[in-house]
């Protein structure tokens, strides 16, 4: 390509890709810079590790790192584990498979806040679940299910919202496998398990990695589900960050934000690697 063509391409990429890289780059840069006392909004800027040291010795912060990681990993695993068999089932069209697919994917159309409201409505103290359990006689009185300490409500919401997304990606990956390959394996004497392990699993690894990574990042940085349905005695990273920012403590907010980026990055790399090992059934 000539210099002129390069200039044309660069100019064309500027308003779209250029703005993306600029905005996201700036945002991530500010998060890291402010966490080290630079680029301050109020007062002087000076390079310091005091904010990191401060938070690393803070139990609320450490608990929320563990908690958000837990929510992220569990949400990604639950969503993919539920979506996988469904995707295999829906690989080949049959009468009604379109309808089933649409019903399963419906939560994609429902806003997270609406989902949280619908769910809280069902599990509330006098909600329909409590009523039902008392009616069939399993529970004597209403149980307090909202804001449970193990964040089961948050995990159910995350799975409810994200399973369809995993299903979408996995169905795409599965439908890309041609029948010829599976038929050939069957002719060579491969049973269902061997076909799954030797053909379907390796060929759907990348779809599954994409699903796991995107769901993990979304769940690690969850704010709305946590605030509405999550446990009261601990905070998610996003909740903690927004709290610090609300009090004008930008530097602590930046430490939490930078932590969230690090957890999202390393966590998704580890999960993607692990899922490859599991799906290929070997280390390399």
């Amino acid at each position: 390509m000539t210099a002129r063509q390069w200039i044309t391409v660069t100019l064309l990429l500027m308003p779209g890709l250029g703005l993306i890289v600029w905005l996201i780059g700036t945002v991530v840069y500010i998060a890291f810079a402010q966490s080290f006392g630079l680029y301050n909004i109020n007062g002087e800027s000076a390079l310091t590790t005091a904010y990191w040291a401060d938070l690393l010795g803070n139990n609320i912060y450490l608990r929320s790192v563990r908690y958000s990681t837990y929510i992220g990993v569990m949400s990604a695993i639950f969503s993919v584990v539920l979506a996988y068999p469904l995707a295999i089932w829906l690989r080949k069209p049959f009468t009604g498979s379109m309808t089933i697919g649409s019903i399963l994917k419906a939560p994609l159309l429902v806003h997270g806040l609406v989902a949280a409201f619908l769910f809280v409505n069902v599990i509330s103290y006098h909600g329909i679940l409590n009523q039902f359990m008392q009616w069939i006689g399993i529970w004597d009185g209403p149980h307090r299910l909202q804001n449970d300490n193990n964040a089961i409500a948050v995990l159910i919401l995350q799975t409810w919202k994200n399973m369809p997304f995993a299903l979408l990606l996995l169905t795409g990956a599965l439908q890309g496998i041609s029948d010829d390959v599976l038929d050939a394996a069957r002719d060579l004497g491969a049973g269902s398990w061997a076909r799954f392990r030797k053909i379907i699993a390796p060929l759907t690894v990348s779809g599954m990695q994409a699903a796991i990574v995107i769901i993990f990042i979304g769940a690690v940085s969850d704010f709305a589900f946590q605030v509405i349905a999550g446990p009261i005695n601990r905070q998610s990273l996003a909740q903690l960050m927004v709290g610090y920012k609300g009090r004008g403590d930008w530097n602590s907010a930046a430490v939490v934000g930078a932590t969230m980026i690090i957890v999202a990055l390393f966590g998704s790399a580890i999960l993607a690697g692990l899922s490859k090992i599991v799906m290929r059934g070997r280390l390399k």
Partner: protein, 275 residues
Amino acid sequence: MNRLRLNNILMALVIALAFIWLFIPFVMAVLWSLVDPSQPWTADKLLPPAMSFYRWVNMWQNSSLQPALLTSYTLAPSAAILSLLLAFPTSFALGRIAFPGREVAKTLCLLPLVVPPFITAVFFTALLYRLGLTAWRPGAIIFAHAVVFLPFSIRILTVSFETVRQDHIDAARDLGAGHWARFKAAYLPALRPGIYASLLIVFIQSIEEFAIAFIVGSPDVVTIPVLLYSALGQDYVRPNAAVLSLILVIPNVFLMLFLERLLKSANPTLASGKG
């Protein structure tokens, strides 16, 4: 057990589960939105004792619902148009020019999707403070939405640009068409479904977006999700939250169904008139 029977059992199972995880929650929301304040819906009653549209009328007249609707439905189309305009040149380059590093560029376009939205929201606000640009918050939200949702518009338009047929462009040029005439005759028919789809998807995403609207807009700008968030938190009145949830979810379901049809029509055969 043969495969057909197994399928039927599985289908019945999924439909039964869908009844629990979709139908019941929505029916509950609809019922709660219809509870008349004259008689509260207590736990011992299966259905609300008195039902009316009082909550809907009341929310419409006496809450921030109207301004929030106006805000949401002004910000979203603006962000959609801005995003389309910003995506156009990049998509043209990605879809029609073979340059080294094109795949890397395509992947980089996905960046906003992997950075957590609250990070973008909080530190974009920090940037606005540093630059002293906090005066016009709606403008800041439109800009942030347009850039954050660029991956969608770039992706859709790139595919559209790829479907434009080179022989159409050459034919138009051979017939003496200038830049604009060539664009209208050869590009536009293939691009049209992509343009609509891009506008629609950014519109839906912007209507639903919560983090940026909540953090960048607070406290002046209130969109529907922000209003719903406060209705679920500090001002929790269940029937009111039910009304807001339904207002947020119903139009979007129809828009998404429309979008799906639009994306299905965006195939090269239809767009170029021949296979």
